[in-house]
């Protein structure tokens, strides 16, 4: 079942992807067919099954509390599409 335009628009808004009016319908159809297809997971009995978090292979590791990084502003700003002095810039955000 196709996702309705309102849903597609809401999701696109959450994902900050601007859509052309024509795209909403196509996406709704494509997404709908994928969602229908994954619905088959509802058949699986998952009672008492823990969700998988990680593959259980690595052992948790913690880093030591030392300053080993940073102080690399040139790198941090090296790819900035727009900057002003030491800052990234964005259109003014009004609170």
């Amino acid at each position: 079942m196709s996702l309705d335009a309102k849903t597609v628009t809401r999701i696109a808004r959450l994902a900050r992807i601007g859509l052309q009016p024509g795209e909403v319908e196509t996406l709704g159809k494509d997404m709908g067919s994928i969602i229908d297809w994954v619905e088959q997971l509802k058949e699986v009995d998952v009672t008492g099954v823990d969700p998988m978090i990680g593959t259980g292979l690595a052992t948790p590791r913690l880093r030591e509390d030392r300053v080993t990084d940073g102080n690399c502003r040139d790198k941090v700003l090296s790819n900035a599409p727009e900057r002003k002095g030491p800052f990234y810039t964005v259109p003014k955000v009004v609170e």
């Binding site: 990680g54 913690l62 080993t68 940073g70 941090v76 990234y88 259109p91 955000v93 609170e95």
Partner: protein, 485 residues
């Protein structure tokens, strides 16, 4: 006495819960090796991990975990040996990855409590729901350019503890007391410096109101990011007032996020966020669940400093100070330490008296903190020793303390330099008194005629004549003797 607000329909009770964001004291950030130090040139305390560059991955800082556990122990809370980091997804200019790593479903610390003291001398227990670790965001600077905001990521990724209270708070005073107590505990343990000006402690305040006796909560509003205890208390008051007006006008309170404007003394809706948030939490696949060992928790517990409540009880017991004195002395660990350094080897009650009185006054006057006090604990102890062994009297001691603050000289040096040693020679005292009595024959007659109050006058005159150095007990005793002659 319960706190009540009287509206047009009668009395209302307020219900408050606080979410405190406390910045964790650590060298490096929660998931990167960049410095967590406050300040710094813009975008210098930033690694490529913090800036969310492609392929960069988080690795958890051990000390930040330890700090959360220590804090949990300080709040007498459940320590969860299994916890997990989730991503909270939203877009904002100072959130480089488009998600904040936080602990949503499985926080590291569970239920705990904070005991708060109220002005009427009573104590209340405020429940702590949970404490979790999360990343701070960067800073957007809006006032440097007419059309643009500037982004500084120095704070991005610094570790925060979010400490969520139960909705147990029933008055602005309790909210203030809770925050002060929480800050005190954090500072004692050394897990947060509690500096609200630098933003290392901020609170989101959840407020609702209800009629006394109602058992259900009504809709609450969240006032975001209040950055001083005073403002928290003010915000609760005005927000409760606003909600009462809404209910009493027959309206309903909408669950929403509001901002406190301390200039206008009002809260207002953050309507700019037109979209309902949908944070799409899910476990961060770049991180493994956090599993800690009970033995490590035990180690951290064993190394924990004495906490405020325990310290107060001990000071009261060990040094005989009052409940009030212990509360003042234990506000900060450094003060309590200072006090103990003075009190050990001195008259402990006298020490408390002096700390709370002239010593704090001297600190206030000079604008110094206990850490850079102009008078050391040893210096103060020496001064008190001179009082105890009758070398000087209390009045002279005040003068000596002032001199110590000014010159940094030791008490005994000042006493010698100024010749302030107390006079205990009864002959000298007697001759000084005789001179005073002779010069005030009329007053002596009045005294003898029953005007007892004049005794104080004779004491004052004698002390004045002796430049304050007379031993007060001997002066009294000798005066009584000579006046009855």
């Amino acid at each position: 006495m319960s706190y009540r607000i009287t509206g047009s329909t009668g009395e209302w009770e307020i219900v408050v819960g606080l979410e405190v964001h406390a910045q964790v004291v650590s060298e490096a950030k929660l998931f990167s090796g960049a410095s967590a130090e406050y300040g710094g040139e813009p975008n210098t305390h930033v690694s490529l991990v913090d800036a969310g560059f492609p392929g960069m991955l988080p690795v958890l800082n051990r000390e930040c975990v330890a700090q959360a556990v220590r804090t949990g122990l300080g709040l007498e809370a459940e320590i969860n040996l299994f916890s997990r980091f989730d991503r909270k997804n939203y877009f904002y200019a100072d959130l480089p990855t488009g998600y904040q790593i936080s602990q949503f479903a499985h926080p590291i610390i569970g239920k705990g409590k904070v005991l708060v003291d109220l002005a009427d001398g009573s104590t209340r227990e405020i429940g702590v729901t949970r404490l979790h670790l999360e990343q701070d965001a960067g800073k957007s600077i809006h006032d440097q350019d007419p059309t643009r905001s500037f982004i500084d990521l120095n704070r991005a990724g610094v570790a925060l503890m979010e400490i969520v209270s139960e909705p147990d708070i029933r008055s602005p005073e309790e909210a203030g007391a809770y925050l002060r107590k929480l800050r005190q505990i954090l500072r004692y343990i050394g897990t947060c410096d509690g500096n609200m000006e630098e933003g290392s402690m901020r609170a989101d305040v959840n407020v609702s109101v209800r009629k006394p006796g109602e058992t259900e909560y009504r809709t609450r509003c969240e006032i975001k990011n209040v950055n001083s205890i005073r403002f928290v208390m003010m915000a609760i008051e005005v927000e409760a007032q606003r909600q009462i007006e809404v209910w009493e006008a027959g309206g309903t309170v909408d669950q929403e996020t509001r901002l406190f404007d301390h200039v206008r003394g009002e809260t207002r809706s953050l309507r700019s966020k037109e979209d309902a948030h949908d944070y799409r939490y899910f476990p961060d696949p770049d991180l493994l669940p956090l599993v800690i060992e009970q033995s490590w928790v035990d180690e951290l517990k064993a190394a924990l400093p004495e906490l405020p409540e325990a310290k107060r009880a001990r000071l009261e017991q060990e040094y005989g100070v009052s409940r009030y004195e212990s509360s003042v002395l234990c506000v900060e660990q450094a003060i309590a330490d200072f006090y103990e350094a003075v009190a050990r080897g001195a008259d402990a009650r006298l020490a408390a008296n002096w700390m709370l009185g002239d010593f704090f006054a001297a600190l206030n006057r000079t604008g110094r903190s206990i850490e850079d006090s102009p008078v050391s604990a040893e210096g103060l102890r020496e001064l008190l020793g001179l009082i105890s062994d009758s070398t000087i009297n209390g009045k002279i001691a005040k003068e000596v303390l002032e001199d110590m603050v000014e010159t940094g000289d030791s008490a005994s040096a000042i006493v010698e330099r100024k010749g302030l040693r107390q006079v205990t020679d009864t002959g000298a005292i007697e001759s000084a008194i005789r001179e005073i009595l002779a010069a005030n024959n009329d007053k002596v007659e009045e005294y003898k005629g029953g005007k007892d109050k004049l005794f104080g006058f004779f004491v004052g005159q004698t002390m004045k004549a002796m430049k304050g150095k007379g031993n007060p007990a001997l002066v009294n005793e000798t005066l009584k003797k000579l006046l009855s002659e």
